[in-house]
């Protein structure tokens, strides 16, 4: 926005040199060194605002006018972390009401919802405000997620809030709600795992494994090609590959899906992993994969699955071929 042009509120931007309240300040130009390369063509408005910012930064002036100046500078470039940092120093020195700061952040967030500095600032404010702000933070992230259900910063902030300030009560159902809206939302699946593992209100991964497996299997049935639910199912077992390999019911999930769709890639991939963990289906189960051949050993099954995946998941043929090449060698 150039000098003389109106901003959104219809107010003409006044150069700092014309603002009487800034008359005592000598602006500090940017020091690009003696041989500047790729000099940015700043607008005069931007340049002047930053010149005045550099001035208050140099003298470490923690005043109301400094605070307003950081607000202007942030609106011009929300990525300037030096400005955000200085703003924090000023807020602290002036003992400002940080609840009001949340409104400022929300306002900036409208056009900068993926800005690292903004979210870090929010985290700083929330930490200062403490446990009382937790519901507001959960509301805020929910609002952001409503327009972008996978906003990485929003999810990170939400996780931080839960761990630092609490508010776990409704989180699992929040995940379920999001998954009901979009079962492919991998961020929601990740959050679900986060809740199961970390919530002080729940009994932990091991205790909840059975119910989560059931949840997962339902999700698989609803959308068999959805990678998220298969990966989550694997994730529930962590290092306990023995339980996975021993589980006939989970193995059957694979065969059920493959009976419906012989090219169900996630099912083939999962079954391969199960076999590597010691799962032993019956010869008849394997007929589901291909009725014309007889698969008599788990090695043969694993080799077959790799071969199959090389064809039906051809973009990853190199990876599956490599998996196949390993099998005879890592056999015991």
């Amino acid at each position: 926005m150039q000098v003389g042009v109106e901003d959104d509120d219809g107010d003409r931007w006044i150069p700092f040199s014309e603002r009487s309240e800034w008359s005592d300040v000598q602006p500090v130009p940017q020091d690009d060194g003696p041989y500047p390369v790729v000099s940015i063509a700043y607008t005069s408005q931007f340049r002047e605002t930053m010149d005045y910012f550099r001035a208050v930064l140099a003298r470490d002036e923690r005043s109301d006018r400094s605070l307003e100046l950081t607000e202007e500078a942030i609106h011009m470039n929300a990525g300037n972390y030096t400005v955000w940092h200085f703003r924090r120093l000023v807020l602290e020195s002036l003992g400002k009401d940080l609840w009001k700061e949340l409104y400022f952040i929300q306002d900036v967030a409208k056009s900068n919802h993926k800005n690292y500095q903004l979210w870090h600032h929010r985290r700083w404010v929330a930490e200062k405000l403490g446990v009382a702000v937790a519901p507001e933070e959960l509301r805020f992230t929910e609002l952001v997620l409503a327009s972008d259900a996978k906003n990485y910063h929003a999810w990170s902030h939400r996780q931080w809030v839960l761990k630092a300030l609490g508010g776990w009560e409704a989180e699992l159902s929040f995940c379920s709600m999001l998954l009901q809206e979009d079962i492919y939302n991998n961020s929601a699946w990740n959050q679900r795992f986060f809740v199961i593992k970390n919530s002080p209100l729940l009994e932990g991964l091991d205790s909840m494994r059975e119910s989560e497996v059931e949840y997962c299997i339902n999700a698989i049935k609803l959308a068999p090609l959805n990678e998220s639910s298969w990966t989550y199912l694997r994730g529930l077992f962590g290092n306990d590959t023995k339980s996975l390999g021993d589980s006939q019911s989970i193995g059957q999930v694979c065969f059920e899906e493959l009976a419906r769709d012989r090219c169900c890639i996630p099912a083939l991939s999962f079954l391969l992993d199960l076999v590597c963990y010691g799962f032993q289906p019956t010869v008849d189960d394997c007929k589901i994969l291909d009725s014309s051949i007889e698969i008599l050993s788990s090695l043969q099954l694993a080799l077959y699955l790799c071969e199959r995946l090389e064809v039906v998941d051809a973009i990853r043929a190199c990876y599956w071929a490599w998996r196949r090449s390993l099998l005879p060698a890592i056999i015991k």
Partner: protein, 370 residues
């Protein structure tokens, strides 16, 4: 610089991006990569980096920005690179990391997505594509983490058939050393044929029709850039020997635990095949990510910017030079899509700078410290 990096260091092992700034895996990587080039990778800098990065690996296998965050291509590259640079690989589940990364390549587009069930983006050509050369570099450690595979005979559902089954199995095992079923009536994807030259069977991969369901051909990266297999699988112990010779001394400790099976080899040139479809990735960048006016992009319809220009090109270079076995050595084989004028200079797999510049910088700062 060392003082600055030390100030940014956190007790958790991570690094803040700036004073009072956020702390995530990017910070770890950028601090460590800079320290590495400058030759100031001190114990203070490297302290507990492993703990921090490993804590960011998720159940999916990829790495998130912070502990608990979703597995993400950018952070996965950063985390893996940071651990390789500091030689602190313990505790990282490499097989699941590789599997996660391999699954991020889009079958239709050929490019990579940053996270599961999200759209592909040209910049992930580097963040995700760049993971594979790093994995190649630490393959013995990955193989040492693979579960031991126990071969079992499968039972029939009907117990009365057990005798019949046993006879069949015995016949099969006697006919083939490797235990593959070799029966003329079999319409299998595996066909084993004796190779004249070697005593081990030469297994060729043939594309056979999958009984029942055959997907109609569609315009997709997968169908346009099928992977061709030229070579044979060499004797496994030879492959192991060659691989262990290739790997750097840092992997000494993992060699003992490494199982025999490693990357696939061509008998002639010992070319190590990359784990992803390099041709399809190059195609995505060249065909979908270029703008007429110059510059590269996320995906068609997006505006150009320097970030996407940088990482699309970095990813293109990585796809053209996908294998990196020895530390400090330039990626060897090149695999260019289109005319040879498409070939870019190789980029350093860990620092993503022109390989020659990297060597010059390392040498320069090394001399400074002497």
């Amino acid at each position: 610089m060392l003082q600055f990096l030390t100030r940014m260091k956190d007790s958790s092992g991570g690094f803040r991006l700036h004073e009072g700034g956020e702390m995530d895996v990017r910070g770890c990587y950028t601090a460590i990569a800079v320290a590495h080039i400058l030759g100031i990778l001190t114990p203070t800098i490297t302290y507990k980096v492993n703990e921090f990065v490993v804590s960011c690996q998720t159940y999916e296998g990829g790495i998130g920005g912070e502990p608990g965050a979703e597995a993400h291509g950018g952070y996965t590259f950063c985390g893996l690179a940071a651990l390789i640079l500091t030689n602190q690989m313990e505790g990282l589940d490499l097989p699941s990391l590789l599997k996660w990364a391999a699954k991020r390549q889009g079958k239709v587009e050929g490019g990579f997505q940053g996270r599961t069930n999200k759209l592909v983006d040209g910049c992930y050509s580097f963040w995700q594509g760049g993971i594979f050369p790093l994995i190649q570099h630490v393959i013995p450690r990955l193989v040492s983490q693979l579960p031991v595979f126990r071969n079992h005979l499968l039972h029939p559902a009907d117990e009365n058939d057990v005798l019949h089954m046993c006879c069949k199995v015995k016949t099969c095992l006697e006919s083939k050393k490797t235990g593959f079923v070799h029966d003329n009536s079999i319409n299998s994807c595996i066909s084993g044929e004796e190779d004249e030259g070697t005593s081990e069977p030469n297994i060729q991969i043939t594309r056979t029709r999958i009984e029942g369901k055959e997907s109609p051909p569609i315009m997709s990266a997968e169908t346009l850039f099928p992977l061709k297999f030229h070579g044979s699988y060499q004797n496994i112990t030879d492959a192991q020997q060659h691989s262990t010779d290739c790997f750097s001394k840092e992997d000494e400790q993992t060699k003992h635990g490494a199982a025999q099976g490693l990357s696939t080899f061509n008998q002639d040139s010992c070319f190590v095949r990359p784990f992803f479809n390099t041709q399809a990735l190059q195609a995505y960048v060249l065909i979908c990510c270029q703008v007429l006016e110059g510059g590269l992009i996320d995906k068609p319809g997006k505006p150009r910017d320097f970030y996407h220009t940088c990482y699309c090109l970095s990813g293109l270079s990585t796809a053209q030079h996908p294998t990196w076995l020895q530390a400090e050595a330039c990626p060897s084989e090149s695999d260019v899509l289109g005319p040879s004028c498409n070939l870019l200079e190789p980029t350093h797999p860990l620092c993503n700078v022109h390989f020659e510049r990297y060597l010059e910088a390392r040498s320069f700062f090394n001399d400074l410290s002497l």
